[in-house]
Point group: C2
């Protein structure tokens, strides 16, 4: 059905650092992108849920993409989040990503209205694809019902693949429901299906999926990449158990501020802890508890 | 607690017409604003849920506001929707509305993340208010859990009122739960509490609320306004029964395309039926059924 898979492996949804005025901090952002690639990320997924993408304007996202490219990041390795509630925003941001040379986009459905039918979501994606009208556009559907509340049924994926086989090329499943990911992998051979957490990585790869786009990839990408490389080895289950343990330790806390706290500690850089509302920075006591939990399992960021 | 209420009565959340390219149609928008005021609207609430506000970019909303003012609409009568998921968008749009002279803004909470705490929502509103730093800013909180999923608890309203008594002046309750509206009215005397549907209008006014901001105000504003004027008369219950009946006939259909269909029919203007994705235009057969339902109850748009 689809000839090539552009992305596979582990793509961290890059955290977005903010300055003291809560404006995006391009220098720290680019530095983090570079470090993630050095640590083994096979690609980067900025402006996802973890990257506080929907807390950034279209212009802020485009400026960060430009800064990354100016800073030496290969645009082809990036799959930015570009699905907004406003059709016009989704079109402008997606077009900007394509023109920047991004290897793909990770697209949320327009998530304001609830109870939206497959027909309506099909219309939304068709309109974006046709307004852009660019063969370079490669869309990965972003299925995350816990936040978006609406998402992609098997019937809708099938319809999009039939209508736009060269454009709709993959999906990130952040439903947290492995049976849903498995059903997508089984139904659409060749479609690039990512798990939304490394907890499902070995299952994903063994079933024919292509990897994971995972929040905790921001702090543990080397070990997750190692499993991507060694999933057929005897060591695979042990590697999976180890990265699962780390993930579970982190996700016991509010995920995004927890990840920023870990990076802040690792870099000895207090600025990294800042989040934009409606998130809240981790209180100091909670931050210390998180770091103690990670020390107790001998977790240490490489590099 | 609050000295003056800026808005009261019936404010239609103005429908947004689109041209053949699905771009906002400023001329038809301004014409509709003018007609609603002629028909008795006490103010206008563009870019709400009904106005497909979240399907419009910040720039599109600012351009429509400018067009309205250029077209002779008094900015002081407008309370546009300005709450976006991105802090920077909410600040820019709200500041634009204040600088245009709008009498207030109707502000959604940042609605992407779910399970957001009162602390986090307080931080969101505080950040917008303080970044704007303009005494002219008057915020009406937009409580609509069916779409936003997150909303305003009594404790959060109390905290916002305490911190920003001259800025946070009212609320629209689109929960559909009259007991919630009643609790807000009872808890905060002087706070301008609107119902999100005219079905609750008489209850709202009798309890000390100030009116309704209601989708069907786009097509039935004269009769709703008449109840606002005559709610203490003997005719009040009969008037309520009549507008309730009309509302129920319309809301049996998908509300936004149904309202556009009614306006399209009234103006003999096919262009009015267009919606932006993720909405779907009403199929012709459904449109005919809706119009037949309204004829059967002798409903006719005045003017």
């Amino acid at each position: 059905m689809i000839e090539s898979t552009l992305f596979s492996g582990v793509l961290p949804p890059v955290l977005t650092p903010f300055d003291a005025d809560l404006a995006p901090d391009a220098a720290r952002f680019v530095g983090h992108c570079r470090w993630l690639l050095e640590q083994g990320a096979t690609g980067l997924a900025p402006f996802g849920t973890t990257g506080e993408g929907n807390s950034l304007s279209v212009d802020e996202r485009l400026r960060l993409l430009e800064a990354a490219v100016s800073g030496g990041i290969d645009a082809a390795l990036m799959i930015p989040g570009t699905g907004c509630t406003a059709l016009s925003d989704s079109v402008r941001l997606t077009r900007g990503a394509v023109e920047t040379g991004c290897g793909g986009v990770l697209m949320l459905p327009p998530f304001y209205y609830k109870g939206v039918s497959d027909d309506a979501l099909f219309r939304s994606f068709a309109e974006v694809i046709e307004q852009i009208g660019d063969a370079r556009l490669k869309i990965y559907l972003y299925h995350i019902p816990p936040q978006a509340q609406i998402g992609f049924s098997l019937a809708l994926i099938e319809r999009l693949l039939k209508a736009y086989p060269d454009t709709v090329v993959g999906l990130k499943d952040s439903s947290g429901d492995w049976s849903n990911t498995k059903a997508i992998i089984d139904a659409f051979p060749g479609f690039a299906t990512f798990s939304g957490s490394e907890i499902f990585l070995l299952d994903n790869l063994r079933s024919g999926g292509v990897g994971c786009i995972t929040a905790s990839g921001n702090v543990n990408v080397a070990a997750i990449r190692a499993l991507c490389e060694h999933w057929q080895d005897d060591s695979a289950d042990e590697r999976q158990a180890s990265i699962t343990k780390t993930r579970e330790a982190i996700q016991a806390y509010p995920m995004i501020p927890a990840l920023k706290t870990i990076i802040s500690k690792h870099r000895e850089d207090a600025a990294w802890t800042r989040t934009r509302p409606p998130l809240l920075d981790l209180p100091e006591e909670t931050a210390q508890a998180l770091l103690a939990d990670l020390r107790s399992q001998n977790f240490a960021i490489a590099g």
